[in-house]
Amino acid sequence: MSGNLVFLAGLVTLAMIYATYTMILNFEAGWGGLWDLGSAGLIAVGAYTFAIFTAPQDGIVFAPQQSLIVGWLASIVVTAAVAYIIGKPALRLRGEYFLITTFAFSVMAIELITTESWLTAGSGGFRTITRPFDGYVGSREYNFFLCGLSIVAAFIVYLLLRRLGHSPFGRALRATRENEAAATSVGRNIPEMRLKAFVFAGALFGATAPLYIFYVRSLYPHMFGATLTFTLWTAMVIGGIGNLKGAFIGALLLIGATEATQFLQVSVEHANVLAAARPILIGVALLVVIRFRPHGLLPETLAFRQPRARALASCAQEQRTVTQ
């Protein structure tokens, strides 16, 4: 029974981590219209920065063995800086060209991590990850702590992004996605806004990347393959591109469905088929949603409905005062 509870805590932790990443992706891709296929690369940069700064790893040249807070801050700063380096040139490109460029950067980041083993331990990876408050509680209880931590992180990211989405910056960002010329004509500096959004998303990826390796408890380059990026995009498409709650729910549903296959008890020769069920499930979900609910489970609510309603109401008020 308690084994099931631990499993459930793990499932919730993983789902929350994916939900967090999907919400960040929704911020840059759903609202900002930046088709970023490099999320996995940025998450990898964040995770590796954290691990390099904190892990007691022997055999790599640079191991400052700093405290977790320093590692966390370094992870934010380095990932944001990498996002700036990628975004500065790449944001000149549009649509699928931007998509290919970010994809290429992501692959290059993973390749560099694999080859530069003096810094990143290469494909051997980090087998120990320093985790907060590890050892204060039993390893079984730690799963529940991590679960709580991931829920809090997802909640904070949700509140932050919702606030940002309703702010003038968030509305302007969506305006640049809808109509560039119109947004420029009302005085918005579009390249600067896009770069800000991209770097901010990078910082958020950096801030939440350590959670992922706390959960996995090790760190290898192949954890950040194309599958991770595409899973995040799938979650966002299922939930509804441009809807923050949708991104959250889409990720929960997707991870819940794919990880639930682990509950099934099967013989060894069928375990292989079961493992294959996961990509098939993701693919079918994606196809069905795009075909029959092209805007996702929760379509984006109109960005300008609230301000517009307010404007209309005050307009009507004025008219009434005039006619009186």
Binding site: E96, A104, E111, E180, T227, P279, I280, V284, L287
Partner: protein, 289 residues
């Protein structure tokens, strides 16, 4: 000399893989991520035919390639045709969905992550001082370019080929002129996916096939297609040879582990400096507004 020959092998297979991808991209307008997984499927089907059923390698290829083409046609008919008016993003993500499904099916049917190596019986080879080539290596290069040549003849000299080029140029106009769009698009999917299957087999012949072949090669195909320019098939061929050359010849200068990294650096630079590709026809605007 030997290195140039290796570059030619790699480049030929890459060009072949990318040309099918570019054909679909030109007529349908979206990047078909599932292309890599059809390469994987082709390699695995041919491998099974050649080992489990003990067929002659040439016969196995001759059976597999049209089969993969039909699979591509069926996929397009089931998934992509109904999405025609839903926009490029919908089609692009559907192709990601198809990629996941094909990948899942292949890993379910062919268990294990072991690399599968084709049985090669011929021991014929050419050996000169400083250069050697086995029959299979020569066969790969010749086969790849024969396929490319027949694609060229098909596009340039048949009625369907002409309509395909017309649709790629201007779909609205082609439709208005009464071109049979269904037939043309259908044959694009058949031919494009069959080429994916063939290139998967040829790549498998060099070093065997692993289950991750599809995800790995779709990245390189994107690189080749971008380098060659997304709007021209002949540019893609040059792009393929170039990327093959970069991956193989860079081993002379730097450790071989950096080959892929350099190839991707090349794409990034191409995109940033000349987003329309090395052989451009027009439309710089499309990439950077």
């Amino acid at each position: 000399m030997q290195y140039i020959f290796f570059a030619l092998i790699t480049g030929s297979t890459l060009a072949l893989a990318a040309v099918g991808f570019a054909l679909v991209r030109q007529t349908e307008g979206f990047l078909n991520i599932a292309h890599g997984q059809f390469m994987l499927l082709g390699a695995f089907v041919a491998h099974t035919l050649a080992t489990t059923y003990g067929l002659n390698l040439g016969l196995a290829i001759a059976i597999t390639v049209p089969l993969i083409g039909l699979a591509g046609l069926a996929t397009a008919w089931l998934v992509f045709f109904p999405l025609r008016d839903k926009g490029l993003l919908a089609q692009f993500f559907s192709s990601v969905g198809v990629a996941f499904i094909v990948y899942g099916i292949v890993s379910a049917l062919w268990s294990g992550r072991a690399i599968k190596v084709f049985p090669i019986t011929s021991d014929f080879s050419i050996a000169m001082p400083g250069f050697s080539a086995t029959a299979i290596e020569l066969g790969i290069v010749i086969g790849a370019w024969l396929a490319v040549l027949s694609l060229h003849l098909f596009l340039a000299h048949t009625r369907v080929g002409t309509s395909i080029r017309a649709i790629a140029g201007n779909a609205e106009l082609a439709r208005a002129r009464g071109i049979n769009v269904r037939l043309a698009i259908g044959s694009v999917w058949f031919v494009g996916t069959a080429l994916a299957g063939l290139s998967g087999i040829l790549i498998g012949l060099i070093g065997g096939v692993g289950i991750e072949l599809g995800w790995h090669y779709i990245l390189i195909i994107l690189a080749v297609a971008v380098l060659g320019g997304l709007r021209t098939l002949y540019g893609v061929l040059i792009g393929g040879l170039l990327v093959g050359a970069v991956i193989e010849l860079s081993t002379l200068v730097v450790p071989s582990k950096y080959g892929v990294l350099i190839a991707f650096g090349l794409i990034v630079v191409t995109l940033l400096v000349k987003p329309e590709g090395i052989v451009s026809v027009s439309k710089r605007k499309e990439a950077s507004a």
